[in-house]
Amino acid sequence: MDILVCVKRVPDTSENEIELNRAGNDINRDDLVYSVNEWDNYAVEEALRIVENAGGSVTVVTVGDEEAEEVLRREMAMGADKGLLLCDEAFEGSDGMGLARILKAAVEKGKYDLILTGAQADDGAGQVGGMLAAMLDLPFASLVNLIEVGEGKLKVGREIEGGNQEMNAISLPCVLSIQTGINEPRYVGIRGIRKVASVEIPRLGAGDLGLDAGKVGAAAAKVKRLDYFVPEMGAGAEILEGSTDEIIAKLLELLKAKGGLK
């Protein structure tokens, strides 16, 4: 099975506090540590496991700037066979629909049996997978937390409310968006990264993809982000202050009053 996995480079929320910049029009990007969107690592791991069992190849693709190449390399260090960087000034400011349109063009340049995305990105909207499927006119399932490969189709589990799982049969080729917890993504060591450090990663722009530059990027976006902000805080929690002993004494008093201690 030949699998394409869409991956995105995002600010790493476990390594950074996400804060506003001074102008308030963006988050503060000084010294920001970036990584692969959490969900996408699960998607790549799942693709690798499928190929380990059933044969085939895994290609990782991203739409981003030159620096986005590093996330492709990281996923190739995990075991992906190929990387594709979709990079063009014309892509800047694309909304979800624009991104899906760019990815669609890349899908059509290859031949894939299965396309995986993350269920959502930390700075995204849980949209690109479903849009890409609809543009390609392929069946889609979101929030997938189980995949079993069958003849010409897959059995997929979707996460629904209350820890329940919705089982579906879906025909190939299809697009799935992967939910965290579907597997345990393998560890990538510095050695693995070094091994792929000099691998050539093809870079494709709007022209290479046969994309009309007017249909992607900021000008074509129907949804635009104006700014970032932190709303006026409501009353919020009463923050307990003082020495640790004082805080604990106050907390114990409250817990007793609220029935938190037996």
Binding site: Q120, Q127, I160, I247, G260
Partner: protein
């Protein structure tokens, strides 16, 4: 103004709380809107759901089709594309079904798509200005949505206050004829029920809940010690289950359990809406988090800015001394 539709979630003939919230969303887009409820399904359960929807919406469009007995998003999308006029605005809840249905629907309708709105500010010349959250609620953003070719909009459950309104006494129109063959390439098989764990956290009165702030599996021991000293049970957020440190039955949230304790101790948990969505009954919430800006401090009653790995053992010690 484009026609506004609200997709109504229902189960066993009962409509979801979000049905009335979407009415509030429609009114925020256009105060004079009379949105139409879309109620799809099959048989007698559908009839009850339509009757309930007509209590809130002046117009209800019903689609009865055996293929819709279980709401498979691929099949529902096919039906909606045939049913909803071009240029319309379709509202739905941002949860596991809406996430499955909405993005592809927008493409098929050639409409704009915006997800997970938490507020709507205004509509100005066809541009809707709305509020979203990013990075797990650490920051908010204003977005504009061009409604000129219609839109699919998902709203975060619980973010829009449903108003107590007089019963709408709505008309139910049967639109089943508008959709025919709905066979798709994705077939629903069954729902597999969640596994039952060692403890039933839905019954617990006091919960010590662990989040990613615990950093390593071994550190969870301190939460179990605190829980033991307090006579509480241990629950957790999703990353703890994803990492297989605790069983799924201990996960609190929209894709986990709904709990209704008296006291909830959120330790090293940021306070995402999917996590908080699993906490009901207005418990006394204590948040322990090392980041003073963590969103959990917005919803907790009492906050302690501290490292859980240092603070919790000291707290446990003091409770033991007192006993």
């Amino acid at each position: 103004m484009a026609q506004i539709f609200a997709y109504i979630l229902h189960k066993n003939g009962v409509i979801d709380d979000t049905a009335r919230e979407l009415l509030a969303v429609a009114r925020k887009i256009d105060a004079s809107a009379t949105p139409t409820a879309l109620v799809l399904g099959a048989g007698s359960e559908l009839a009850s759901a339509c009757a309930a929807a007509a209590g809130a919406y002046a117009q209800v469009w019903k689609v009865d089709n055996a293929a819709l007995a279980y709401p498979n998003a691929e099949v529902v999308r096919k039906a909606l594309v045939k049913l909803v006029p071009a240029g319309s605005i379709v509202l739905m809840a941002h949860e596991h079904f809406g996430m499955d249905l909405a993005p592809g629907l927008a493409i098929r309708m050639d409409a704009a798509f915006v997800s997970d709105l938490v507020d709507i500010e205004d509509l100005d010349g066809g541009l809707l200005k709305a509020v979203r959250q990013e990075f797990g609620g650490a920051v908010h953003s204003h977005v504009t949505v061009d409604l000129s070719t219609g839109a699919v909009i998902t709203a975060r459950p619980g973010s829009f206050q449903a108003k107590e309104e007089a019963a709408a006494g709505g008309q139910v129109a049967d639109k089943s004829g508008a959709v025919e063959d709905l066979a798709g390439r994705r077939d629903f098989i069954e729902v597999v029920a969640a596994e039952v764990g060692d403890v039933d956290i839905t019954k617990s009165e006091v919960l010590v809940s662990c989040g990613r702030g615990f950093e390593e599996q071994d550190n969870l021991a301190i939460a179990f010690e605190l829980a033991k000293a307090m006579g509480a049970d241990v629950s957790c957020s999703r990353p703890i289950v994803d990492a297989k440190w605790l069983e799924k039955a201990r996960q609190v949230g929209t894709s986990g359990q709904t709990v209704k304790p008296k006291v909830y101790m959120a330790c090293g948990i940021s306070g995402s809406f999917q996590h908080m969505g699993g906490i009901k009954g207005n418990p006394f919430i204590v948040a322990i988090n090392k980041n003073p800006k963590a969103p959990i401090f917005q919803v907790a009653d009492v906050g302690i800015v501290a490292d859980v790995l240092e603070f919790i053992p000291e707290l446990t010690e003091k409770i033991k001394e007192g006993a």
